[in-house]
Symmetry: C2
Subunit: 386 residues, 2 copies
Amino acid sequence: MIQPELKLRRDKIRRLMQQQNIDAALIACNINLLYTAGTIISGYLYLPLNSPARIFVKRPNHLSGEFVFGIRKPEQIIDILKEEGLPMPEKVMLEADELPYTDYMRLAGLFPEAEVVNGTPVIREARSIKTAVEIEHFRRSGAAHTKAYNQIPSVFRPGMTDLQLSIEVERLMRLEGNLGVFRVFGQSMEIFMGSLLAGDNAAYPSPFDFSLGGQGIHPALPGSVKGAPIKAGETIMVDMGGNFNGYMGDMSRVYSVGKLTQNAYDAHQVCIDIQNEIVEMAKPGTVCEDMYNKAIEMVTKAGYADNFMGIEQKARFIGHGIGLEINEMPVIAPRMKKELEPGMVFALEPKIVLPGIGAVGIENSWAVNAEGLEKLTLCDEAIVEL
Amino acid sequence: MIQPELKLRRDKIRRLMQQQNIDAALIACNINLLYTAGTIISGYLYLPLNSPARIFVKRPNHLSGEFVFGIRKPEQIIDILKEEGLPMPEKVMLEADELPYTDYMRLAGLFPEAEVVNGTPVIREARSIKTAVEIEHFRRSGAAHTKAYNQIPSVFRPGMTDLQLSIEVERLMRLEGNLGVFRVFGQSMEIFMGSLLAGDNAAYPSPFDFSLGGQGIHPALPGSVKGAPIKAGETIMVDMGGNFNGYMGDMSRVYSVGKLTQNAYDAHQVCIDIQNEIVEMAKPGTVCEDMYNKAIEMVTKAGYADNFMGIEQKARFIGHGIGLEINEMPVIAPRMKKELEPGMVFALEPKIVLPGIGAVGIENSWAVNAEGLEKLTLCDEAIVEL
């Protein structure tokens, strides 16, 4: 990672720290280390407001550099900061929404004189506005994602189960460079690579706050495929995470075995119309809840409100920021007053679930620029007959 | 999940709670919910010492039962407990090593009159002694894992990169029913499905405390393959997580393209001898550090101490408990005074890394019974020539 890019990111965090009179951050969680240090270490990045960042590494043992210090335990950080001539912070932030309680208490104990505040919202806000380098990562991720999905028809075999097809799609994604891990903010939501939902499994309620659920093949991992044969007349919605370089691109496309009833094509078109209308209105200054409300208005008018974003259990959003994690800021949902800004990247996913057929609809990833939105995921949007 | 099994597990936790005068646990993390409720929910399991467990579910919306209550937020738990006639606990435990600080503080706030203590070590200790049902899960997982590895020679093609071979092994694992997710205790260690290490990449230091590292194909996910062609005369160590039913079986096997130098076969045999010697001595009452010291003694005598468990950066253990997570109790490491008990399940993985060749050695999963150890992973242990 080139140093100017890391400086840019650290300064984005510093600007927000300054607004809250926070004079240092101690960063310990993988994703925020990847963001600020350009790599994942077992260790810490100390970010003072007015001095270069210091990196403290427990593992691996081969890192070195001007501001890199090897340590065995976090208590050594304080001595090193003093040796470096840095003042102790008066107000320091830790990743309180991410660090386990025990780890948080240990790190907070390093600063007995300081006020310790929650840095997670600060870092998430900084991360919500992507740099040019990050948006270029998304473009490359979108291209690889597109290339993988375009090969899906070639791996389908009649008589396959949803699980078997998912395994072949996972392989296509991996062959295009997908890293495999699906990173989610928060400790509770788990999924393997993404979801593939055939037929009524698309309506199966999940414990997690993803857009749709699915039964899963074992109670140890709810969600996605259930291991049943794919039937003619059903849809297959593929929604795999596009983690090709750390950035979680997001794209859903719909496939079918044979023709569907006209209702399915109509509902699919309603979702595409919603997407296109929202893309038309979205630009810097557009309020997130207005986009959500536009979707609800359109889907209600089209007569599919009861089936929008699930049936019995519905997702209460139609889009979400994406970045190093799949659920970043902003959220396109009710009561979200946040305005779009250049550099935001989000997934927009209007979807309708039809009993006896499955899920239809669309999901693409979009980057906000000065004029409007740039599309990052480029597959054809029609339902693909397998 | 059958209710008597869940009762058994909850009572194991209760016995340990009682020893510390803890009169209730509030469980919120996925793995501990899976252990005590038999399924993953967005919600909580409240475990009183002297009354049946109560389950509080936010999502999914289709769960019901005698002691199951739908809630929107955790603050509702207290009112329901009062309606149920349960006394407020005087000493309550929360998963302090797992819950994010913010979540912990919110849940601790539900019990303003109580002493709140760390429940993570208690639950981990209970989970370290597996039930008969859990050991049967491990047997089935071991059989599926074995079946997948036995097909590895059939997917190898000359000229493949380590990444390409890993993708085919991942697919074999998935086709045998692997759920894909690789669960690790602690918020910081990440890996996708497991590792495949060819040649000198086996010595590449990792930020994580796995047995070996590997460079990875992108800084966003260190570890495992690096995307380089597999060369003749190198070893390929396959160490994929065996999560076929929630239980993380663990097995490593070594493959080679063509013949290796005699040194590699010798070092491999040293590891197998270490394994067999430790298996011979291991029974209820055997002290974990004694097994570790035996390994060090044998590998030193054989002249491979400098290459044991890595070269420049070494793993400081030769085995680890396995269960719903890959790193459970006990740890087979220096200064570990813990004694083996019937029901413990652990992976034993003596490995030697040879410069210019790669990793050799062995890993199997073992269950402790009254007489000694039962082997759970059953592939042939010789180096397989591809």
